[in-house]
Every structure is written in C-alpha cells, then in structure tokens.
Symmetry: C2
Subunit: 366 residues, 2 copies
C-alpha cells in the first residue's frame, strides 16, 4: 500500500474523528527531546489545558502514552488492589471492559447493569452504592457502544458520601459535552484524543484528584503495571521532570494544538455545536427511515446509535465508504449487525457535515 | 509556548533521534479509520516489514500502542505468571526496569549482574541459566544507560536448550545493528520507534515467536494487563481484525515510511553506516579529551557513553543545546553527572552530523 494512494475519508464513526489541518501540521513539526526545556514548556501548557477541559482544579491532568483503554487501565490499576470491591456500572462494551480490568487486577467487581441502549437510573446506582459500600465506583459517562449518556453526578456524590473513589470514563464525552471533575466529585477520569478533541488516536488524557493520590499513597503493594504507575509518571509530569519513559513528543504537539482549538472556541459554544448537529442529524435520519436506539433524554449528541433501514447493513456501510468516502461505525458486541454508530465529533459536529451524510444516505441503494 | 517558536534541534541523545522529512509528512497524512480496509492494508505492510527487520519468520510482529517500555511490559506480562522464575541480566537501568516489572508481576527474579559499563560474560550467563533452570531469561541487547552491547546469542541458545523462554530488549539496537530473532532463538523481542528507526516516539515494535504463543495458551490466569494482552491484540493484528483498542493511525503511517526507508537502504548498509559514524566519533572525541566508558569490544555503535572533560557537565550540555542546538544525553541512575550519552541513530549516523558535533564541542567553553 502506497501511503500516497490512501483514500480521503469523512470520519463519522465512533472515532477516530476527522482532524483539522492545523493539528496535523503540529504533528509534523520537527521532533525535539522529551527533556528539552522547550518541550517541557509545551507539556506545561498541555497539563494546564487538560485541567481546564476536565474542570479539575487540583491534582494532575496529563496525557497517558497510550489510547483511551490505556487510560482506563491506568485509573483502575492504580486505585485498586487485590480484594478491593469495585462497583461497576455496565451499560455496554466499555462498562464490560472496566469490569474485565477490575477482575484482572484481582479486585472484586460488583455489577450494576442496564439493557444495551438504556442508562442505569441514578436511584438504582445510588441505592447499590449505599447498600454495597464499595471501595470504588466505576462509571461510563458516554457509552460509545450504545450511544447512551449516563447521568453520573448523583451517583458520584453518593459514592463520595460513602468514602468510595469514583473513576469516570469520558472517552467520548470530553470536549463534546460537559464534564465536571470537581463539581461532580470525580477522583479519576480518562478520555481519548481521537473523539471530540479531534486529534489523532494515541494518547489518553487523564485527570487524577487529591483523594486518588491519597489512596495511591496508602497502597500496600506496587501497582502491577510499571508503564501505567502514576507515582512514577508523576515524577515526569510533576515538578521533578524525571525520566520515566520517552514521552510521545509529536502526539503531544498535536494535542497542544487540539486543546488550543477546543478551549479557544469556548467549551459552551462547542457543546452547543454538538447538540445542534445531533438534532439536525436525528431529524434527517428519521425522515430516511432510521430509528434511534436510545430514548431522547439519554442520547449522546456526539455518538448516535441508530437502527438502519437496510436489509444488509454491512453492505450499506461499505457502499457509503466506497462510493461516498464516508465512514460510519457498525455495532459492537450484542449490537453487532443491528445498529450503526454515527459520530459527529469535534470538527464534524457541523451542519454541512450532516448535510453531506444525509445527502449520501438518500442516494444509497436499498 | 507557541509551537511556531519551537527551536530546531540536532538530536544526538539516547532518543528520540532526528526524524526525516518524509516520515514527518506521513505522520501528517489525513487520518482514516482503524478498521478501514485501506488502513488494514497499511498495517499488513507494517507487520511484514517488522518481521523482516526483526528477522522473525514465524509468529507475530506488530507495533504496540505505547513506547518501548510498554513493549517491555507486554513481553514480560504475557509470558510470566506469578511464581515463575525469571533470570534477568542487569547491566544498567533497563535491566533494572525488567527486574522491577518481573517483581510487579509476582514472578521471582534471579539477578545476574555486571558493573555499569560492562557486559556480562556469556559463560557466566550460560552457567547461571544451566544451574538455575529458570522459566524465562530476560536480556538487554543494547543497554542504553551504559552504551554496552551485550552478547546474547550464546545465552539465548543455552536458555532454549533448558526449555526457558528468551525475552530480548532491542530498543536501541533494532535497525542500527544486527538483531536475529530466529537465528538466536529469541521468543519475544521489543523495541522503540524513536531510536535507530528514526521515527517519532510512541510505538513499540515487538516480535513474538511460536514458543511464546504456546506459553500464552498454557497460562492458568489472565494476563494482568488488558491493554497489553497479546491474545486480544492478536485478534486485531491477526486475520480476524477484531476491534481491541483504536490503533494509533498516524504513528503507524510514520512507522510504515520509516520501515520502508530502513529496509530500502538495506540492513547491512545501514549497520555499516552506524559502525563508521561511531568510529569517526570515537576518534574525534578522544582528540578532544573525552574518555569512552566501555571497552572497545562491547561498545554500541549508536549509543556512546563517554566521560566528558568538563568540570560542570550539565552546564556544558546546556551550552551545547542553547548555543549550537545540539542535544546529547546525561547519565542515568548511578552514572548521572558522570557521563554523557551521545546517540548516532538512524538519520544521524552520518559523517556530516559527526563533523557538526565535533566542531561544536571544539568551541565549547572549558
């Protein structure tokens, strides 16, 4: 495959999303050393901007040198020890992934579940937290496999009242809808660069609060992962700037620019742009015979789970890709073959993008 | 920090090394989806090229979505279970890192050690392997903290005779000197993109052989890391192409081009280029009052550990960076403040680069 022959795609799947030219240009800047004072100044900016994006005023906001799932593992592996009890809210594939990581760590998962396509009622979560009194509560804010927005603020506050730590997956929500680390009483949150931040995949922004660091200090065993050990990472990303691993310099340049764009636009403006694009999409899709999987009040703006009106959904997706250059996602897990996942993330949450998709869908063979 | 104001640097430290314009251009190509057939064709090429570079004819050669230390953790965490005995050859910081990871896994490390700046005699390693009969032997081919080339072929063959698996760190050696996965009887090897491959940091190429996969199949417990679990990664990088995590698309584009350049040059030609640049550097440095830390027969061509003739080595490095735009590395661990590490990796293993460094050093304040 010659890279010069790569097709151009409009990326309307569950991620990666389309990346602005300015971000790609930053990615291609000449590499400098990961301990160079000029690079450390870039890292300083990135940390401040991530803290602003997460609305995390204390603790540490950094990019983990891995994709979103690496951030998930970082949060859980640092905050849990074998035997700890972790209540995991499972509404789809990413809740299942948290559950699996909790088990691998040797902690004991307590499962609270919703049907695929539904949120877990906050009252149910709060009741489970109060009766089970877990050490940690793991929540998925935006479940990418089902398009569900899970209400998390009430459950997180209930967890804090019980003395449990709260880990929040905001891989798909961050920079596309409100994430309030401080206000919601979150202790550790992780995201990915390739969704609403509209940066290439490869980094996982995380925020770690003071209570999480207190828990880290009380650990009786080392974190099982050296690569994801926050105490070691904190020595590079803290004031010491001690070598841990070689920071992914180019990706951090790209993230620097992507964050500048997101914060420069204004978060409220950006969130409203995502909501409007979503509303336009839903109206258009319903006119074309699509059905939404999720009830209106729990729909994510940036990730739309829809039941397509085609007998052969895979063939229709392939036609959309080959004939129109538009990628949408298929279903994952139990929803494979049943739904499409249409992402309007970051750069793509715009009316002209929705127009182009609806125009193409209207021409697709039935 | 405005990215437009970033300084230009000649990267002659222990990595990252300077990246060719063609590789940076590939990095900046428009992003496409990680399950797009066009991207999977790129991944196919990368896997074939990595197998050629590692000289690994069977098994799996893939890029891990993390830096070199993530590749280290992948190899050890998949091939060891709690209680397994791992003989670790420690000649510096990266041998220590392997030792630490072995402990975190709950396996039992057996330490064979050399003084910083020396290789471990192969006979000593072979004798230890025969008497200890470990489950796994972990070797560092090119110890980046000391500039030592460790002879590994005899020890690896002794390990195979005893039925032990062999994990080889070739972070700094791969693409700069010969690495022979098949011939040396290696079972798992890992590297980094930011050294002799002259690609930005962020990926860890690994090769996993058939005996390693047999061991994986015999595991009695899940791999502690979900992110680095080779059975799951093998479903994306194997024929199934099932989603695991979102592959770092842009970095894989860059690796595609970096591999094309390395293999296109011819590996023997490339290795000879590294040897010649090293010889030129050593001669020039000795004329300037530097001393080599390592005896001639164990020196790495691409990473030169040298004792600088300056009273304040940190100040001299800073002058080299600020006045001449050249980065060299300081010492790590016990060698901090005592040595410099001068890398001539990938694009920088060229006479004109050595000329520029020597010219700058000749002008440095004493």
């Amino acid at each position: 495959m010659k890279l010069a022959d790569l097709p151009q795609r409009l990326l309307l799947g569950p991620g990666p999303s389309s990346v602005a030219a300015a971000v790609l240009q930053s990615l291609a800047l000449p590499v400098i050393g990961h301990l160079d004072p000029a690079f450390l100044a870039v890292v300083d900016d990135v940390q401040k901007r991530l803290a602003e994006l997460f609305r995390c005023s204390a603790g540490l906001s950094i990019p983990i040198s891995a994709t979103g799932s690496g951030g998930m593992e970082t949060c859980l592996a640092n905050l849990l020890e074998p035997g700890d009890r972790a209540l995991v809210a499972v509404q789809g594939v990413f809740g299942e992934r948290m559950h699996s990581i909790v088990e691998r760590i040797g902690a004991r998962p307590i499962r609270v579940e919703a049907e695929m396509g539904r949120a877990i009622p906050p009252e149910q979560l709060m009741a489970a937290i109060r009766s089970e009194q877990p050490d940690l509560v793991a929540l998925v804010h935006a479940e990418t496999s089902t398009g569900v927005a899970q209400p998390v603020a009430e459950a997180a506050r209930a967890a804090r009242e019980q003395g449990a730590l709260v880990v929040l997956d905001c891989v798909t929500s961050l920079a596309g809808m409100d994430v309030r680390f401080d206000d919601w009483a979150i202790d550790a949150a992780y995201s990915g660069t390739q969704k609403c931040l509209a940066c290439p995949p490869g980094l996982s922004p995380i925020a770690i609060g003071p209570r999480a660091f207190e828990r880290l200090a009380r650990r009786t065993r080392p974190v099982p992962s050296w690569y994801f050990d926050l105490s070691l990472l904190g020595r590079y990303y803290g004031s010491e700037r001690v070598y841990h691993h070689t920071a992914p310099v180019s990706m951090i340049f790209a993230l620097h620019t992507a964050l500048e764009r997101a914060l420069g636009e204004g978060l409220e403006v950006r969130f409203e742009r995502h909501r409007r694009a979503h509303a336009q999409l839903v109206e258009g899709l319903e006119g074309l015979g699509f059905h939404m999987l999720v009830e209106p009040e729990h729909r994510l703006p940036m990730l739309n789970a829809v039941i397509p009106p085609y007998a052969d959904e895979a063939r229709a997706r392939r036609e959309l890709l080959d004939r129109f250059g538009i990628e949408v996602g298929g279903g994952l897990g139990k929803l494979a073959g049943r739904i499409w996942r249409i992402g309007l993330m970051g750069e793509n949450a715009r009316p002209e993008v929705v127009d182009r998709l609806l125009g193409a869908l209207g021409q697709l063979s039935r």
